[in-house]
């Protein structure tokens, strides 16, 4: 059964169209990244999946269960990590997790709880009040809460927003481990390197419309180019090549399609190999992909 199928989802706030005929699906064990600028509609889509909002057109099915017709059953399969931190002023980490497990109508699996607390480095903080935790710890607590009932679909709404580099790296590692356990994940993020590292497929949203959906690899291949900087031993004359972006006495910069071999470039640009002192290649990133797609739409 497909973990998530969204068909023609349309959500309007008065005249503002937050999501317009959005369709995509997430396959078992896949990490799907939903990317786009602020206000593109990422959180709106997630909010509709977990029924925080209701939509006017289209359908969302979680493991074949329509979230509008049977929200309770659908939500039992979903783990949700929201953008906003939750403070739980009165309770300790352990207390809040024990209560939270019961909300899904299943007895608390103490082994699983210990595993998650260990894995996300909160075991030694379990007796602390949630208010006493740092922002990063609170974010990890949100992830544990989302995984307590062993969901098959995990929705991560900017899970690394505002956390330090070290914690971000450890969360990425953890998400990769979850993927190996065949958990299907929908991830929204503004960190494009995060999406590039974690996502199997990517959907690019803009103004509520899904502009492009494809594998990360194909997106990079198709919509980005590599930057090639060639340092010369001695100056060459003026080079006339469509891919040349800058030229000085000893330096040539090219923006080259990913699939184009450098030997072909040098041949076309008439650069003798014995004139080349050094070559620096910077591969295209998702940022280039985003810019290309969003600029193309404009």
């Amino acid at each position: 059964m497909t973990p998530l199928v969204i068909k023609n989802l349309t959500k309007k706030y008065g005249r503002l169209v937050a999501a317009e005929r959005v369709s995509f699906e997430i396959h078992p064990g896949e990490v799907f990244g939903l990317l786009g600028p602020n206000g593109a509609g990422k959180t709106t889509i997630i909010s509709n999946i977990v029924t925080l909002q209701s939509f006017s057109e289209g359908s969302i099915k979680v493991f074949g269960i329509d979230v509008q017709k049977n929200p309770r059953l659908a939500k039992a399969h979903i783990g949700f990590v929201p953008q906003e931190l939750i403070h739980h002023g009165f309770f300790t980490v352990e207390e809040i997790l024990k209560y939270h497990a019961t909300y899904f109508g299943i007895p608390l699996d103490k082994e699983h709880l210990k595993y998650l607390l260990d894995k996300l480095h909160l075991y030694h903080h379990r007796k602390k009040l949630v208010n006493q935790l740092s922002g990063g710890m609170k974010r990890r607590l949100l992830i544990i809460k989302a995984l307590l009932h062993k969901p098959k679909l995990l929705l991560l709404d900017e899970p690394t927003a505002g956390v330090d580099v070290e914690l971000r790296a450890s969360l990425w590692k953890f998400i990769q481990e979850l993927k190996k356990e065949n958990l299907s994940i929908l991830l929204t993020t503004h960190y494009l390197e995060e999406a590039e590292l974690l996502c199997d497929r990517i959907g690019i949203l803009d103004h509520g419309r899904l502009r492009k959906v494809d594998t990360t690899e194909k997106m990079l291949q198709e919509y980005s180019s590599k930057k090639v900087s060639v340092t010369l031993c001695s100056p060459l004359g003026k080079i006339d090549h469509p891919l040349l972006t800058a030229q000085s006495d000893h330096l040539l910069d090219f923006q080259v399609p990913n699939e184009m071999p450098l030997s072909q470039l040098f041949q076309e640009a008439s650069i003798p190999m014995n004139c080349i002192q050094d070559i620096n290649i910077k591969m295209g990133t998702l940022e280039d992909v985003m810019q290309t797609i969003l600029r193309g739409e404009e």
Binding site: T51, R72, P82, I86, H100, T102, G105
Partner: protein
């Protein structure tokens, strides 16, 4: 998915919440009750003569129990909902597989628990005062009637608290409802006085106040006498509970932070 486990879990959490702040949720109401008993029951009570020769202190105790129950059941629901709105906890519940009925049940039962808990303490304090003044404890005339009115009165105000909490945009709104609407209704419902001695206008007005029926039902449960017909009080209290329950469900579904 065990539905009972869900309700039980949320109920336990809500009860734990109010027990975490005992001074605010239990201590303050107890001090209030002691002050009312001291001022009205002991000091002024001697000069108040009731028509059926019931000591004023005996008349006051069930009124104070009713007031504690209603006020605390209402406050528990409103403060829980408002607090959860402010720290994003409400979202936690909205993404879990709770039905509206389950949410209502767990939250209202925890409010009833707090109401009964404070009501019981008020009863114990009242009995202590009564014993020292009269030399014996005040007997409970009709325990079943008392339980009926305590339960449905507490449940009604627990539900009403949910509705007000969901619709209020700030603690100021909740405070306004509590101080400007609920408190006058409690006082005019006959906590401190009997309807018999009142002007006929206020007597007829009181019949539109559901609290009047709850308070007098509780009083009948304890003393065996009341200003009103017990059957009517029972029906009005149950009907009021149903209306509040529907309001609570409606607010959860359609309130500003609605839940599916």
């Amino acid at each position: 998915m065990n539905r009972w486990l869900q309700v039980q879990g949320l109920y336990k959490r809500e009860v734990a919440r109010f027990l975490k702040v005992p001074l605010q949720t239990v201590g303050a109401p107890i001090v209030n009750s002691i002050l009312y008993l001291l001022i009205f029951g002991v000091s002024l009570g001697h000069s108040i003569r009731l028509e059926n020769n019931i000591p004023y202190l005996a008349f006051l105790i069930p009124g104070l129990i009713a007031m504690s129950l209603i006020k605390n059941a209402f406050d528990n629901s409103t403060s829980a909902i408002m607090g959860q709105k402010y720290v994003n906890e409400l979202q936690d519940l909205r993404v879990t597989p709770f039905s509206l009925q389950q949410l209502c049940a767990a939250k209202t039962l925890s409010s009833l628990t707090r109401g009964l808990f404070v009501g019981l303490i008020t009863y114990c304090v009242g009995q202590t005062f009564y014993y020292f003044q009269m030399g014996h404890f005040l007997p409970i005339a009709n325990p079943l009637v008392l339980i009926y009115f305590l339960i449905f009165g507490g449940l009604a105000f627990g539900n009403l608290g949910i509705a007000i909490g969901m619709w209020s945009k700030s603690f100021e709104h909740v405070g306004a409802v509590s101080m400007l609407i609920l408190l006058p209704l409690i006082y005019l419902g006959g906590v401190f006085f009997s309807l018999e001695g009142m002007h006929s206008f206020w007597q007829s007005t009181s019949h539109f106040n559901p609290l009047f029926f709850i308070i007098n039902g509780i009083r009948y449960g304890m003393l065996g006498s009341t200003d009103i017909h017990l059957g009517i009080a029972g029906v009005v209290t149950f009907a009021f509970f149903l209306v509040c329950y529907i309001l609570a469900l409606f607010s959860l579904r359609n309130g500003p932070r609605y839940m599916r």
